[in-house]
C-alpha cells in the first residue's frame, strides 16, 4: 500500500481534453496510473490516449467507477468541478489550479470536511507514489528527483520540492508517496491531516516536510507528533527564515503577520516535538540518515 494513490487506485480526469489535461493524462497513464475516464462537457464519445471522455463525472462513474478525481480545471471553474466530483461520490480529489478565490477555497474545504472527503491543493503539482500512480503534473521521469523508495514527502511548494527531493535521493533514499498540499493560504487538506496516512503506511519509514513561512500547518504537525499521532522520524526544511515580516514571499500563504507564522516559531515547535530541521536543502539527506540511525 501507499498513501493516497497506488497502482490499483482508479482515477478520472476532469478537464481531460484541455492542453494541460491531455498532456498529463497521458503521462499519468504512462507511469502506470489506472486512469479510467475523462470529463469534458460537450466532448462525450471522444477519447484521450484511449481513455473515454464523458460530459460529466456522474455519467463517467456509471460506466467506470473511479476513486480519485484529478482536476485540470481553471481557477474560476474549480469550485464547480470539486463539487461535481463530490456529487458523483468521489472522496479523493486533487486540484492544481492557482488563483481560486479565497471564499471558494473555504467552501471547498468545508464541503470536503462535511462529507469525509480529502481535497488536495490547489496551487499544487499533485500527488505521486513513484512507480505506482500519479495524480498531477509531476515529472516522474527525472530519476534524480523522483526515485522510488521509503521516504514520504509533504510539501507546500513545487520548485522547492524538486530541490529538496533531489537531496533526499542524493542521500541514498527514494520517495514512497509525495503529496503537494499547495501554496495557497487555505489548502483543502492540511499537513497534519495526512500524518495518520503516513503513520499507517508500511512503505514509509520516515517523513520529510517542506514548509515555509506563514500559516500554522508546521505547528500543527508538531502538535500531532507531541500527541503521538505521528511517531516516525521526521525531517523538515522550512523556507523563509530570513524573510521580513509583512512581505508576501511569492505564495499566497507565505507571509508572517502579527508576529505569527515565523520560521523560527515553526522550527522551535518541530524540534521540541522531536523532529529534525534542516537550515539548507543540502542537509536533508544527512539528517535523514541520522534520523533513521
Amino acid at each position: 500500500m501507499s498513501v493516497f494513490i497506488d497502482r490499483n487506485t482508479s482515477v478520472e480526469v476532469q478537464g481531460a481534453t484541455g492542453k494541460e489535461g491531455a498532456y498529463w493524462l497521458k503521462h499519468m497513464k504512462d507511469m502506470g496510473t489506472r486512469v479510467v475516464f475523462g470529463v469534458t462537457p460537450g466532448k462525450e464519445g471522444q477519447d484521450v490516449d484511449g481513455v473515454p471522455v464523458f460530459h460529466s463525472a456522474r455519467r463517467g462513474m456509471k460506466a467506470h467507477p473511479a476513486e480519485l478525481a484529478m482536476l485540470f480545471v481553471p481557477p474560476r471553474f474549480t469550485k464547480d468541478a470539486v463539487f461535481e466530483a463530490l456529487d458523483a461520490g468521489i472522496r479523493k480529489i486533487v486540484t492544481i489550479a492557482e488563483g481560486v478565490p479565497l471564499h471558494e477555497l473555504i467552501q471547498i474545504r468545508k464541503a470536503a470536511l462535511s462529507c469525509g472527503a480529502m481535497v488536495i491543493g490547489g496551487n499544487t503539482s499533485g500527488v505521486i507514489s513513484p512507480g505506482k500512480g500519479m495524480a498531477g503534473c509531476i515529472p516522474y521521469w527525472i530519476e534524480r528527483v523522483y526515485r522510488k523508495g521509503d521516504i514520504g514527502v509533504m510539501t507546500r511548494s513545487g520548485s522547492l520540492t524538486n530541490e529538496v527531493t533531489a537531496e533526499v535521493v542524493k542521500g541514498g533514499f527514494g520517495i514512497s508517496t509525495l503529496i503537494g498540499v499547495g501554496g495557497d493560504s487555505i489548502p483543502g487538506t492540511r499537513f497534519a491531516e495526512l500524518l495518520p496516512l503516513y503513520e499507517q503506511d508500511q512503505e514509509t519509514k520516515a517523513l520529510v516536510i517542506i514548509g515555509e513561512l506563514g500559516g500554522s500547518m508546521e505547528e500543527e504537525v508538531a502538535e500531532a507528533m507531541e500527541a503521538e499521532i505521528f511517531t516516525k522520524p521526521l525531517v523538515a526544511f522550512i523556507g523563509g527564515r530570513t524573510a521580513p515580516e509583512g512581505k508576501r514571499m511569492g505564495h499566497a500563504g507565505a507571509i508572517v503577520s502579527g508576529g505569527k507564522g515565523s520560521v523560527a516559531g515553526k522550527v522551535a515547535a518541530l524540534e521540541k516535538a522531536g523532529g529534525l530541521t534542516a537550515a539548507k536543502p543540502s542537509q536533508v539527506g544527512g539528517l535523514l540518515r541520522q534520523a533513521l540511525g
Binding site: L102, H103, I106, Q107, K110
Partner: protein
C-alpha cells in the same frame, strides 16, 4: 490587495455602515477647505497602507481650518509618501469597540472577531488578554444568521440600542466581506459616540486578488506600492519585492526563490530584489530581467528547478533577454529540471558557465558581489 482607509470606508458606507463625515484632500489647500466645510475640530488622517499610523504621527487633530492647512502641509512633506489625506469631523467618543471578519483556514469558516475594547491592535490584545476576545464562526454556505449576531453582541455585553446598532453593522460588514471576497474586513476602533450612535472610526479591507469583480473596482495604481518597479512588476503579474542589497534574484517558483533568498543571507550576501518568474510567467524572462535591471545590483542570480516550466525554455528565454537588454552585471545561472541538458548547452553557447547546485551558485554570486571574483 489592501485598500486605503478611505476606500474601505466608502465600501462600508455603501453597505449602510455609518462612517464619520469626511472629505479627501490632495494638498494642504484642499485640507483647509475640507476642514472649513466640516467644521472644527477635525482629524487629518494620512492615507498610507502601513499600520501604526497614530504612533508614526500620521493622524493629527486640528482645531481650525488654518491649523488643518499647516498640519496637512507637514503630513504631505513627511517621508511616508502621503498622497492623500482623509479629513474627518472629530467625534465625541464614549467608548471604542473592535470588530472584524476574517477567514479561518482550519475550520473552513468565516470568523467574526470582536472585543469590547477597541483602538489597540488585535494581535496585542490576543496575546495579552485573550479572554476578552469574542469569536463567532460563520459558515459561508449558511450565511449570517440572527443567532450569530446575538452571540456577538451578548459576547460584547452590549444591550439596547447599542446592541442593535452593532448587530446591524456586523450584518453589513458581512455583506461587504462576501461581496469583495475579502481576506479581512476590520473596524478598529468602532466608536460608540456620546450621543449614543455607532460609527466606524477606521476601516481596513483586504480584498481577494483572485476575485475579478471586486478587483475591477480597484485597478492597480502606483499608490498601492512602495516603489515604481514593484508597481510595474504587478502590471506584468510577476511577484517582485524591492530590497536594497547587492544580488538581484531572478528565480522561478515561490518556495525556491524564498529559499535562495535565505541562502544568500546565510552566505553573508544581501538581496537587491526578489523576483519570481515561475509558473505561468516562465516564458517572461525578458520582462523579468528588465525589472531586475531597474534596480542597482552587482550580480544577477538565476536559480530554477522547473518541470512544467521547462529548463530549456527558461535557458532560451534568459539568452534572449541577455541579447535584448545587454546587462553589464555578471550573471550566475543554476537552471535545472525538464530538458536540463539542452538548457546547459544553450547557456554554454551563450558564454555562460551554468552551475548545477543551488548552494554553489549562491556562493558564487555572493563572492562576485563582495569583489572576491569576477
Amino acid at each position: 490587495m489592501k485598500l486605503f482607509e478611505y476606500q474601505a470606508k466608502e465600501a462600508f458606507s455603501e453597505a449602510g455602515i455609518p462612517i464619520p463625515e469626511g472629505r479627501l484632500a490632495q494638498d494642504a489647500g484642499e485640507a483647509r477647505e475640507a476642514a472649513r466645510r466640516l467644521g472644527s475640530p477635525c482629524v487629518l488622517k494620512a492615507q498610507v497602507l502601513r499600520g501604526g499610523r497614530g504612533k508614526a504621527g500620521l493622524i493629527q487633530f486640528a482645531e481650525s481650518a488654518e491649523e488643518a492647512e499647516r498640519k496637512a502641509a507637514g503630513l504631505f512633506a513627511s517621508p511616508h509618501g502621503v498622497r492623500k489625506l482623509l479629513v474627518e469631523r472629530a467625534i465625541a467618543v464614549e467608548r471604542e469597540l473592535y470588530l472584524s471578519l476574517a477567514l479561518d483556514p482550519v475550520a473552513a469558516t468565516a470568523m467574526f472577531i470582536a472585543c469590547a475594547e477597541g483602538g489597540v491592535e488585535i494581535e496585542t490584545l490576543a496575546a495579552e488578554q485573550p479572554e476578552k476576545i469574542v469569536t463567532v464562526p460563520v459558515d459561508l454556505d449558511w450565511g449570517l444568521m440572527p443567532h450569530h449576531v446575538r452571540e456577538l453582541t451578548f459576547g460584547l455585553r452590549l444591550s439596547g440600542d447599542t446592541a442593535k446598532a452593532v448587530g446591524d453593522i456586523a450584518g453589513n460588514l458581512f455583506k461587504v466581506f462576501r461581496a469583495t471576497g475579502a481576506e479581512l474586513a476590520e473596524i478598529n476602533p468602532l466608536f460608540v459616540t456620546k450621543e449614543g450612535g455607532t460609527v466606524a472610526g477606521d476601516g481596513k479591507l483586504v480584498i481577494d486578488d483572485n476575485m475579478g469583480d471586486a478587483r475591477g473596482k480597484y485597478p492597480l495604481a502606483p499608490e498601492y506600492f512602495d516603489t515604481q518597479t514593484e508597481y510595474e512588476a504587478a502590471l506584468e503579474g510577476i511577484p517582485y519585492l524591492q530590497f536594497d542589497g547587492d544580488i538581484a534574484l531572478m528565480c522561478a517558483g515561490a518556495g525556491l526563490t524564498t529559499t535562495v533568498f535565505d541562502l544568500v543571507h546565510y552566505a553573508g550576501g544581501t538581496v537587491a530584489n526578489y523576483l519570481e518568474f515561475g509558473g505561468p510567467n516562465y516564458t517572461k524572462a525578458v520582462q523579468a530581467m528588465r525589472l531586475c535591471l531597474k534596480n542597482p545590483s552587482k550580480v544577477l542570480l538565476v536559480v530554477t528547478f522547473g518541470t512544467i516550466a521547462r529548463a530549456d525554455v527558461m535557458a532560451n528565454g534568459l539568452v534572449e533577454a541577455i541579447k535584448a537588454l545587454r546587462p553589464t552585471v555578471p550573471i550566475v545561472t543554476c537552471i535545472r529540471g525538464t530538458n536540463e541538458e539542452e538548457a546547459f548547452a544553450t547557456l554554454r553557447a551563450a558564454g555562460l558557465d551554468p552551475l548545477y547546485e543551488t548552494e554553489e551558485a549562491v556562493r558564487r554570486a555572493v563572492d562576485i558581489a563582495a569583489g572576491r571574483r569576477a
